[in-house]
Symmetry: C2
Subunit: 219 residues, 2 copies
DNA sequence: CGCTAATCTAGAACAAGTTTCAGACTTGAT
DNA sequence: ATCAAGTCTGAAACTTGTTCTAGATTAGCG
């Protein structure tokens, strides 16, 4: 029936969507579609690296990625969706990179802080890109919840990795949640020039103490 | 010389602004100007209470407050500025209200958590307004830093009040910063439907433990 | 190969934030 | 009372995100 399979839950504005079922199986993309998607994300990251959030203009993204504006919107139903997807993409990279050299710290708190600081330094190398992604993430409304949630899960995974905890207790999970809150908010204050890099470091180290506070006896 | 005094640092786009000096003395507003400003903030809060961030449309705010669009922009150079100012306004109310019934908790951590939960319940009564204010706050870029900073200071004051600490240690100030981070970020996740009220409560209580962790012996 | 449904494209159109401008109005000083 | 400088108004214009449309393309199927 269809030519190229449906890109994704293209059921955005149109009435209700069989509201019960989620989107368990994302329809497989054609090779050309996969390529388009990749071009779009690449253009997005590129533009973001230049001028941050404002520099990612949908018309420019479309042009840079050689795709019609309508097509761009079919793949990513809004600028926020696009930037959050860009963040997912970058986060995967990051997680891969971080995995290679696990942190050296003695305690879980040290390792988590070290990992986050490493991520922070990576962001510092592309502050505009960081700006675009983080702003999009916190500005996202309910319509982007699934995607934002995915980013959150990925972040959680990175932190748990750093902790080296197989079976975190509920208390530890709470601590991780709080760490993520602090991480995002601290990034915001840094990006908007209201906190220095040193200040962010302190905040991260401070919040990471919560981990030891909730840690069971080290096995 | 001027008719009604300059509203404020009207030095937004135009070249540099004697970049050294801050804005120590905001020029005193005429009575009529003060009234206009108040009408605008009222209209902003009213519209926000209805439909949240998106419902605060500059043209509507201008109309509701009986002010020309250009004038609105003279008072508040962007929608974000307007909403952050609206938040400042609401925060003052809140601080006043909170002062009246100080929290009952035994420990500083309990008192802070109690205070924040009280604030949270207030926000729950006007979730749309909360949405508009918090989204504006986290979306604000460098051009709004002074105003956002002011909000941050006010929040800090509320928390320190709840702690009942006259001379907080640097460590405690760090803890307060982290609490604020968590507070903002937790609100965001709640507003975008990714966390329940219960979850926010847990996060707040979790992060508040940091206070006891850094508390000196109780005098 | 030829069909058919879905996708892609180019471009116009719309919406809301922001800017601009000419003219009417206020205010404080002379 | 008059004047100059700064404000306010009303309306149009501009920008960028988003939607819509008609027609050209593409993918899977018989």
């Amino acid at each position: 029936m269809p030519a190229e399979a449906k890109v994704s839950a293209k059921v955005n504005k149109p009435a209700k969507v069989e509201a019960g079922a989620a989107a368990p199986a994302s329809p497989p993309l054609t090779e050309r579609q996969e390529a388009r998607r990749r071009r779009i994300l690449h253009a997005s990251a590129q533009l973001a690296s230049r001028g941050g959030f404002d520099a990612v203009q949908m018309r420019e993204v479309a042009e840079s990625s050689q795709v019609a504006l309508g097509t761009l919107y079919r793949y990513f139903p809004s600028k926020i969706h696009l930037l959050v997807a860009t963040m997912q993409d970058q986060l995967e990279h990051m997680h891969g990179t971080l995995r290679k050299k696990p942190p050296q710290g003695e305690t879980a708190a040290e390792r988590v802080a070290e990992t986050l600081m490493r991520a922070f330094r990576a962001l510092q190398r592309e502050p505009h890109l960081a700006d675009a992604m983080v702003r999009a993430l916190t500005f996202a409304d309910r319509s982007v919840s699934p995607e934002v949630d995915q980013v959150s899960r990925q972040t959680t995974a990175i932190i748990l990795d750093a902790m080296g905890q197989e079976n975190p207790t509920p208390e530890q999970l709470s601590a991780v949640r709080v760490i993520e809150h602090t991480w995002h908010s601290a990034l915001i204050t840094w990006l908007s020039g209201r906190a220095s890099i040193a200040q962010v470091k302190i905040d991260i180290e401070t919040v990471c103490r919560l981990i030891d506070l909730t840690a069971p006896a080290t096995p």
